[in-house]
């Protein structure tokens, strides 16, 4: 079941199989809608870098070409200098403009891609089979939307442009250095190599502790979640001191790893910075020797300029090493996002559709308006001929076997039929397979052996959406959505009028309490309707099914949370709802199942008894035991 929300920092998996592939896929994803933008951004980044380099080069020309000659003349003419400065102003202007423009474009690229990603992810998630949701912790699915997409924002908007920028800066600075002086460049590069080695070393240490920190954090958060959820039990058992002690141990462990992780990432910057200074001094000394003893034709101005480049080289290297951690994290996040995107959607090979119909003589004719009459539209694949068959609600299961995993069969050889309008009830213990049967009828899961027919049509041939539209569902676990009460009921039928909604609420006996809510039908429900009682929520979900007006119904413990007196009131509405519809009922309350046309007693995936209430009592078998509470054989 889902954790109570909030981001759950999970044990961070830093090991993504193909980080480069994931990164490439992400870029391809962004490029899908923003190819032109990306190219433009790339060009602008490079333009910006070039303009900046030109600006830096200016220092050399300033000293060598203007100031030094000016010093030698008697009547200095500042005209050439002014023109040079104007040129530089232009370069700077280009730099500023391109930086601003690319950042402005990147906002749209980033936010747009994130929007697309969210939409695609969600759209895809809605197509996934129920088994996906049953086998994945809800908290983990949520964390893809929150944590993982968040890290990707960083990656797209900052890390990648920064990376391009830094890489290009480094390249252009090195090229400029080469133009100025080749031997000096090699001296600088040797120092840069040293910087990289040290960065790797410290970064590796930091990464190691960082992983440990995430693990400890995950463990601590898990403990917090468990204890806070059970805090009332802690109180009842006066278990506070033990809880504190356990917490303290985990907390200290986290402190230890967090301290180390932070320590290493903190010292990375000063170490790199000072290596940059070392680089500077070495270059100054070596360059000084070259210039003073005229070894390589290095001028004083060139050396000054070279030293400026030298400084501007450490900056991008620092930036890359700073971005590395967040890039690794973002790739791990992107990997999880793509994993969800790659989950196989529900397969739907059905082609029989559900359509509105009206009678025209003997034949059924498809129509647009509501007639209360529905038909299965069967387009024969062979000759394209169309056949209409009235929807009646005749459901037949023939020798159905099923298991959630192939190795373990949960249902064995289930055969049953429900004639139109009949009420079929399932009783039996938890795990006997009651809910499983209903999950098969609406194809939340697919059967392994046997056949299920709906009005004589194999349900595999029916489009899933249409099959489900024909089956209303009320589940034990009520799920309401943020929105008004009216919105929640309308969920059953999107074009329902207010009158229809009210009628449905009245049918479910929900109208009374809705009118007592502060704003009646317009009261906003939040947090799964947490401001309503469990019973009220169930009434709303019954109303929601009622407004959909489906030909057949599945009620899975729909009234279990309503106390028996209230249930008697609801029962009336339920009876009205069930009237004339094929209904499958799972219940443990006798009152709900007694008047069923047929009651199936399930045990360990088999139907062990079937019949009407009276017949089953006469049989004096399992049902009789359950009903009378008499224990013939020890069962539990």
């Amino acid at each position: 079941m889902p954790g109570p929300g909030g981001p759950r920092p999970r044990g961070m998996k830093t090991t993504v199989k193909n980080p480069m592939q994931v990164l490439g896929r992400l870029l391809a994803y962004v490029a899908r809608n923003y190819r032109f933008h990306m190219i433009l951004v790339f060009v602008l980044i490079i333009a910006g870098v070039l303009a900046n380099v030109q600006g830096t080069m200016f220092t050399r020309t300033l000293i060598d070409d203007y100031i030094t000659p000016l010093l030698k003349t008697q009547n200095p003419d500042f005209g050439p200098l002014a023109r040079a400065i104007m040129r530089v102003v232009c370069f700077y202007a280009i730099g500023v403009a391109s930086t601003y423009t690319y950042q402005r474009i990147m906002i749209n690229v980033t936010q747009g891609s994130l929007r697309d990603l969210r939409n695609d992810l969600f759209t895809h998630m809605e197509t996934l089979p129920i088994s996906y949701f049953d086998t994945h912790a809800h908290g983990d699915v949520m964390s893809v939307y929150t944590n993982d997409i968040d890290t990707m924002r960083q990656l797209i908007s900052q890390s990648i442009p920064q990376l391009i920028n830094s890489a290009f800066t480094i390249v252009s600075v090195i090229v400029s250095m080469l133009i100025l002086d080749v031997p000096m460049t090699f001296v600088t590069l040797a120092m840069v190599g040293l910087m990289l080695v040290v960065t790797r070393k410290i970064g590796g240490q930091s990464g190691k502790y960082f992983v440990a920190q995430q693990k400890d954090l995950g463990r601590l958060n898990g403990y917090v979640e468990e204890m806070m959820t059970g805090e009332k039990v802690v109180k009842v058992f006066s278990h506070e001191e033990q809880a504190k002690e356990e917490f303290r141990a985990l907390n200290n462990q986290l402190f230890d790893s967090a301290d180390k992780a932070n320590r290493f990432s903190n010292i990375l910057a000063p170490v790199n910075g000072q290596l940059g200074n070392l680089n500077y001094v070495v270059c100054a000394i070596v360059g000084g020797i070259f210039a003073i003893y005229h070894i390589s034709g290095l001028t004083v101005g060139a050396l000054a300029s070279f030293l400026t480049f030298n400084r501007s080289l450490s900056m991008p290297i620092n930036q890359i090493s700073m971005q590395l951690n967040s890039i690794i994290m973002a790739i791990a996040g992107a990997d999880r996002v793509f994993k969800l995107m790659d989950e196989k959607p529900e397969e739907d090979e059905g082609y029989v559709m559900l359509v509105r119909a009206r009678r025209s003589g003997d034949a059924l004719v498809e129509c647009k308006e509501h007639t209360g009459l529905w038909a299965w539209k069967h387009v024969h694949q062979a000759d394209g001929s169309v056949e209409y068959k009235e929807l009646k609600g005749h459901v037949v299961l023939e020798h159905v076997d099923f298991g959630y995993v192939p190795e373990k069969e949960v249902l064995h050889d289930i055969s049953l039929f429900a004639k139109p309008g009949q009420k079929i009830a399932f009783v039996g213990s938890t795990g006997a397979g009651k809910t499983t049967i209903t999950n098969l009828i609406n194809r939340f899961y697919d059967i392994q052996n046997g056949k299920i027919r709906y009005d004589g049509i194999n349900i595999r041939k029916i489009k899933k959406a249409d099959l489900r539209r024909s089956l209303g569902m009320v589940l034990q676990e009520t799920n309401l959505f943020t929105g008004t009460v009216r919105d929640n009921i309308r969920f059953g039928k999107l074009d329902a009028t207010d009158e229809e909604i009210e009628a449905a609420a009245k049918l479910a006996n929900a109208h009374g309490f809705i009118m007592r809510l502060p704003k009646g039908y317009d009261t906003v429900l939040t947090g799964n309707g947490s401001n309503l009682s469990q019973g009220q929520r169930q009434l709303l979900s019954i109303a929601r099914a009622a407004v959909a007006n489906p030909p057949a119904l599945i009620l899975d413990e729909a009234t279990s949370s309503i106390d028996t007196r209230t249930e008697m009131i609801v029962q009336d509405g339920m009876d009205k709802l069930m009237n004339g519809r094929t209904t499958f009922v799972i219940a443990h309350r006798l009152s709900t199942v007694r008047n069923a046309n047929c009651i199936m007693v399930l045990e360990k995936g088999n139907i062990i008894e079937r019949g009407t209430h009276e017949e089953l009592l006469e049989m004096k078998g399992r049902y009789y035991q359950l009903y009378t509470g008499k224990q013939a054989q020890a069962a539990g």
Partner: protein, 634 residues
């Protein structure tokens, strides 16, 4: 997370700061040393450009190799100093911030352990979790940033400025103007941007909440074929976020061109004016180079400062939420000179009135923070009638078996929660063993009045670990005995490792009925004088339920047994039954008499047709794994 809504005024800020700072404790030393080291680093860093200038001016320009080497070595010495202080600052900063976070976490957790039920209701579970996790992480980051940058950045700004003035006061004035200009602009941008962000984050939470609803309610979505409808809804919401975010970020990116323009303007001005001064002999080339370096320093530190401000502003909400927990005092505390012994299991309610504190007025803030908190913040107001219990007067003898019946919201749970002081009465008194419950030692009363809660929880650990919550020193034999009473022994022994089988978090690998029986056994281990079953056999089948009741009567004759039930068969054999209706006692009599003349009792009885009306969970024992696998199925 990001601020809720209301601006935190200065008064509040000071008190927040005070509460938080109190948790620095043993990390005072690194907390002070971090900024000190950062100052050291700044000073070294500022001296280095001076030396760099000297290398060019007095070394390279004059061809003085000796000067280059000596100054270079001096510069390396400075770099070493800078390295040492920088590293130390990093180490201290890490220690101070992670230590501070540890202390905060511990203080919060410890304080939560003193909370009463109504304190817990007020905050709600998900909100407490967020406060202990995300909020602390936010504060830790802001704290470290502040320690390292809040002193360093202004220090670096000032030093660079002073240096620039020392080199050339006339040119340095350009910087002064630039800083003033930038400071004003940055302030305006930040103010505007944080305003936008504050608006965005609640929307962002809404978006996530809507996704969460779909993950949770996927069966409903699919069975109503509403996939497209929900997708459209999400598209709208995410489109909205897109619009708001782009608006806010357009503001934020103004920073960069503003910075660059200022820097470049300075460089140009310095170059032009500097060149003239060099020609006039008032400035050296090296000095000009240094000035240009300081230019970067000054503007970078201003940028840094603005980042720190943003960080602090954004972490204010987290600080507030943490302080709320730290400052909360439990409304149920141990009395002075508490009574340590409960004489017997007799119970008396005297004119008791009780109501839940309205959570709405007390905790309006937390609903804003995180998606999951929304709506849950008010669980305390579940039964939001003004008086939940009204004028209750009851006397129960020690050893009696009492049933309680009544509709949802009639006050059954509230009534029994008063017995072990999970809540305190508003008026009147509750007596156990002839004394007011408020005179007992809390631990004593809670161990002698055992409650099997309606919403019960098992913890990760072995079966035995879980049982021993009832009594730490219980032997395996003790555990077996109570499990026999609770009819839990059979299935425990059928489990792969018997009493050592591991229970997953929340007891997700046992069925509802098994969980309830384990919880009953756990409570029995306390050897209580009064034991309360709050609808705690609802998932146990009728027959087993009857066996448990029988065992209780025979094994614990002295103990007062109170049974809240929906099912009439669970209370039909009680000595007496309390019928609750809308917060008052409608009747208190033997089941026979009630059946004869109490309307509510008769109705409930009728609705359940003579008593045995439920087909409950008759889980064939040993089917553990089935449940473990299909969490979402039931």
């Amino acid at each position: 997370m990001i601020p809720g809504s209301k601006a935190v005024d200065t008064m509040e800020e000071t008190s927040l700061l005070k509460t938080l700072m109190a948790q620095i404790k043993e990390f005072r030393r690194p907390t002070i040393l971090t900024p000190v080291c950062m100052i050291g680093e700044v000073i070294f860093e500022m001296l280095i450009p001076l030396l760099m200038a000297s290398i060019i001016d007095n070394g390279i320009e004059t061809g003085n190799m000796h000067h280059i080497v000596t100054t270079g070595l001096l510069m390396l010495l400075m770099a070493a100093g800078s390295l040492a202080t920088g590293v130390m600052g990093g180490v201290f900063g890490a220690r101070a911030s992670t230590g501070f976070a540890r202390n905060l976490r511990e203080a919060m957790f410890d304080n939560i352990q003193t909370f009463s039920f109504s304190n817990i209701d007020k905050f709600s579970t998900p909100s407490l979790i967020t406060r202990l996790t995300t909020d602390i992480t936010n504060i830790q980051m802001a704290f470290q940033m502040t320690l390292r940058m809040f002193v360093r950045a202004p220090m670096s700004l000032i030093t660079a400025m002073v240096m620039a003035f020392i080199i050339n006061a006339r040119l340095a004035r350009i910087y002064l103007a630039a800083v003033g200009f930038l400071a004003v602009c940055l302030f305006l941008i930040i103010r505007k941007a944080t305003g936008y962000f504050r608006k965005i984050f609640p929307r962002y939470d809404d978006l996530n909440e809507s996704i969460e609803e779909n993950v949770r309610g996927i069966r409903v979505v699919k069975s109503f074929v509403r996939e497209d409808y929900e997708t459209d809804k999400l598209r709208k919401a995410s489109g909205n976020i897109y619009k708001l975010f782009t608006k806010a970020e357009r503001m934020v990116i103004l920073n960069a061109p503003l910075m660059q323009t200022t820097v470049y303007t300075c460089i140009i001005l310095i170059s032009w004016l500097g060149a003239k001064m060099i020609v006039a002999g008032n400035l050296t080339t090296g000095q000009m180079m240094s000035l240009l370096t300081y230019c970067m320093n000054i503007l970078m530190s201003l940028m840094m400062l603005s980042m720190v401000f943003v960080m602090i502003t954004l972490s204010q909400a987290s600080a507030k939420r943490i302080c709320e927990v730290l400052d909360e005092t439990s409304d149920i505390t141990n009395p002075e000179n508490p009574v340590m012994e409960v004489a017997d299991g007799s119970i008396e309610f005297r004119n008791v009135n009780f109501s839940y504190k309205t959570a709405d007025s007390d905790a309006p803030e937390e609903a804003r923070g995180k998606p999951a908190e929304k709506g849950n913040a008010r669980t305390g107001g579940k039964e939001r009638v003004l008086h939940v219990l009204h004028q209750i007067n009851l006397t129960i003898q020690s050893g009696e078996t009492i049933g309680i019946i009544g509709g949802t919201g009639s006050g059954k749970t509230s009534l029994v929660n008063l017995l072990s002081r999970l809540y305190d009465v508003d008026e009147g008194a509750v007596l156990v063993g002839g004394r007011d419950v408020r005179t007992y030692d809390l631990e004593t009363i809670r161990s002698k009045v055992a409650v099997v809660l309606q919403k019960n929880v098992l913890f990760s650990g072995s079966v035995l670990d879980n049982l021993r919550w009832g009594n730490e020193n219980a032997t395996l034999e003790d555990c077996r005995r109570v499990c026999r009473i609770a009819c839990a022994d059979d299935f425990i022994e059928a489990m792969p490792e018997g009493y050592n089988t591991r229970i997953e978090q929340g007891g997700s690998n046992v069925s509802g009925g098994q969980k309830q029986r384990l919880c009953i056994a756990r409570a029995l281990l306390k050897d209580p004088k009064v034991i309360i079953f709050d609808d705690s056999t609802s998932a146990v089948d009728t027959a087993t339920d009857a066996r448990i009741r029988n065992a209780l009567i025979h094994e614990l004759p002295e103990t007062t047994k109170i049974i809240i039930a929906q099912r009439i068969s669970s209370i039909a054999h009680a000595d007496r039954v309390i019928v609750m209706e809308d917060g008052h006692v409608d009747a208190f009599d033997t089941p026979e008499n009630l059946l004869a003349d109490n309307r509510i009792y008769q109705e409930v009885y009728e609705s359940q047709v003579g008593g045995n009306a439920d087909f409950d969970e008759m889980l064939p024992e040993g089917e553990l794994h089935v449940h473990a696998r299909r969490g979402g199925e039931a």
